[in-house]
């Protein structure tokens, strides 16, 4: 909702058609596109120079790229600020997007679960958003594209005092700004 599909259309170049319907949450399209890790992996290796992403990709791969960019939340283990390896591809995709779109801006919103004191949890949320920020910068995003904010436990995604809610609340949300 925050990132314009017009922009996506640009980088996807020849595959604009595939990208067009992109921002909706029509999962079946993406599922077919992102089948397996293969398509996304292909995108990975080509992203390094930050140019021409998708131009040489197959239609399915573009869908995979799109699906990765649609993922906007990184979840963390208890008391951890290390980004789990499962988010490498997703963050690589966002990093490449930012690198190819210097005018794009995102805000990284760090959160913690409700256990412990509130201002300390602001610190934990900040640590998490900084961890995501570092990875995005390694992937080519520039510092001025990235801002961080930590809400600690103040804005839970899930209400409740159980492990399920806690695991949904320990997170960093990537927010594309207009």
């Amino acid at each position: 909702m925050v990132r314009s599909s017009v922009m996506l259309t640009c980088i996807l170049g020849a595959l604009a058609l595939a990208g067009c319907g992109g921002r909706s949450n029509t999962l079946p399209d993406y599922e077919s596109g992102a089948e397996g890790g293969g398509a996304a992996e292909g995108a990975d290796t080509r992203g390094a120079d930050g140019r021409g992403i998708g131009v040489f990709e197959e239609e399915g791969a573009a869908g995979g790229q799109q699906a990765l960019l649609d993922q906007l939340i990184v979840y963390f283990e208890y008391d951890q600020s290390e980004v789990p390896a499962q988010y490498n591809e997703m963050l690589a995709a966002h990093g490449r997007y930012l690198s190819s779109n210097p005018e794009a801006r995102i805000r990284l919103e760090g959160h913690a679960d409700e256990r412990g004191s509130r201002e300390y949890n602001i610190g934990l949320g900040e640590r998490r958003s900084q961890a995501v920020r570092r990875i995005l910068m390694l992937q080519g995003a520039s510092a001025e594209q990235l801002s961080t904010v930590s809400y600690g436990e103040e804005r839970p995604a899930a209400l409740g005092s159980d492990e399920e809610a806690y695991s949904l609340n320990r997170r960093v949300e990537i927010v594309y700004r207009q």
Partner: protein, 445 residues
């Protein structure tokens, strides 16, 4: 409440700044929806039996306020007194000459309060009261207090404070206030955050700030006239200092990154606060008048939650430099920090008792987060509360009671405990979650 009228006047050396309607902050004080109610869970083993006889009334029309009822409620809420219900009173004296001590001895009452309210002008009242030791047949106190009609509630708290102090030797806190954060969600799940100030008994709850973005960490100035707090309006944290009487506020810190955990110095001139550079949290002090910033800690760890020692010489704070959060102490001029807590793997958010002898902290104990008090000289730790997620302890200005936040049936509620752990209360609100209570200083005359 004028939600649309969201323009706050920002004073001070920062350039004048208008808070847009987008922030939707209603800064005028408005009555809060959430009224707090105090319920005693555990009192002292033998509360003092007391009778507070309904006051006499001399004036036109019905009595404007039931002073005796509020005095009795205050004393009962302290957990240290057991008032005799008026229906069980076999006499109702309002003047000293009417007191027959034998009436009260047979009712097993140890102390007696009588009084009368006299109207001396259209909006001028004088409350007379006397406190008697029933067993010895002696008057202990006798006072006359004048007030307007609007201040009769405060007058009743003042009488309760005087009675409490005479009988316990501890200064009463019935006339103080509590600031806290309330969060309510509408049917669509959209949250609304409010900073509220209420009397210590929960009455007169007033909304001080109201926002769709989180508000947190309220902290009183030592004169009780201002509150510092954190607001996330505009998707960024900033620290504001708001004058309660006028509603005007000053944005004192909106630096890149985190602006959190404000705490006024004992002289009211500086704030200790948490800032982050490149995502690393450290504790600083900020002179509010000239904006001079001083960095007190410099570690790659999370350093936050500063609390001043009463003498202003040092600052306690939370740091996870040893791996998990523990309490440290550093000179308020900066320098090397010394670790204070060693019991348990999690100690955070210190608050210093008014006499400086004790710290209240959040302490993890067998998987539960509880309020504990720590002797800063030897690290000795005593757990006071028994919840699962107790947090945000705040000392009453007399040091005898702590208020804190806990969860009960999935709801955020406030609770209090005496600093010896003997008296426990729950303070529930009607709707939504309440949290982060901060007890005001004693009112200044």
């Amino acid at each position: 409440m004028t939600e649309k009228n969201a323009t706050a006047r920002i004073e001070g050396p920062l350039r004048a700044l208008r808070i847009g309607v987008m922030a939707m902050l209603a800064l005028c004080a408005a009555a809060a929806d959430a009224q707090l109610n105090i319920e005693i869970r555990r009192g002292v083993a033998r509360p003092v039996p007391i009778a507070v006889v309904p006051f006499g009334w001399q004036g036109s029309g019905p009595a404007p306020f039931d002073i005796a009822e509020l005095v009795a409620t205050d004393l009962a809420n302290s957990g240290r007194f057991e008032p005799l219900p008026p229906s069980d009173m076999i006499a109702r004296p309002t003047e000293p000459v009417q007191v027959n001590f034998q009436d009260w001895r047979v009712s097993d009452v140890d102390v007696l309060v009588i009084g009368r309210l006299v109207q001396s002008g259209p909006d001028d009242y004088t409350a007379h009261f006397q406190l008697f030791d029933v067993l010895r047949g002696q008057q202990l106190l006798g006072f006359r207090l004048t007030s307007s009609g609007e201040d009769l509630r405060a007058t009743a708290h003042r009488i309760a404070d005087m009675v409490f102090e005479e009988l316990t030797g501890i200064q009463g806190v019935f006339g103080t206030q509590i600031a806290y954060i309330s969060e309510q969600r509408n049917a669509a799940g959209v949250a609304r955050y409010q900073l509220i100030v209420a009397d210590a008994d929960g009455a007169n709850a007033q909304v001080i700030a109201d926002s769709p973005q989180p508000l947190m960490s309220p902290a009183w100035s030592p004169d009780g006239r201002r509150l510092a707090y954190v607001s996330f309006e505009g998707n960024q944290s900033a620290i504001y200092v708001q004058t309660l009487r006028t509603g005007t506020r000053q944005r004192v810190s909106a630096r890149e990154g985190i602006n959190g955990a404000p705490a006024f110095s004992p002289d009211g001139r500086r704030l200790a606060l948490t800032l982050s550079r490149d995502g690393n949290l450290d504790v600083y002090t900020l002179d509010i008048t000239n904006q001079v910033l001083r960095q007190l800690t410099n570690s790659p760890a999370i350093d936050t939650e500063p609390a001043w020692a009463p003498d202003g010489e040092s600052i306690y704070f939370t740091s996870d430099r040893s791996g998990g959060p523990q309490i440290y102490n550093v000179s308020s001029e900066g320098g090397r920090a010394e670790r204070v807590t060693f019991e348990g793997s999690y100690n955070s958010r210190p608050r210093v008792s008014p006499d400086g002898e004790q710290l209240a902290v959040v302490h993890q104990n067998q998987g539960n987060f509880r309020i504990a008090v720590v002797d800063p000289d030897n690290g000795l730790t005593q757990v006071l509360s028994n919840g699962q997620q107790d947090e945000s302890p705040s000392y009453a200005p007399n040091g005898a009671v702590l208020i804190y936040a806990t969860r009960e049936n999935g709801k955020g509620v406030l609770a209090s405990v005496s600093s010896d752990g003997l008296i426990q209360q729950r303070i529930a609100s009607g709707e939504g979650d309440v949290r982060e209570p901060a007890w005001s200083p004693f009112p200044r005359p």
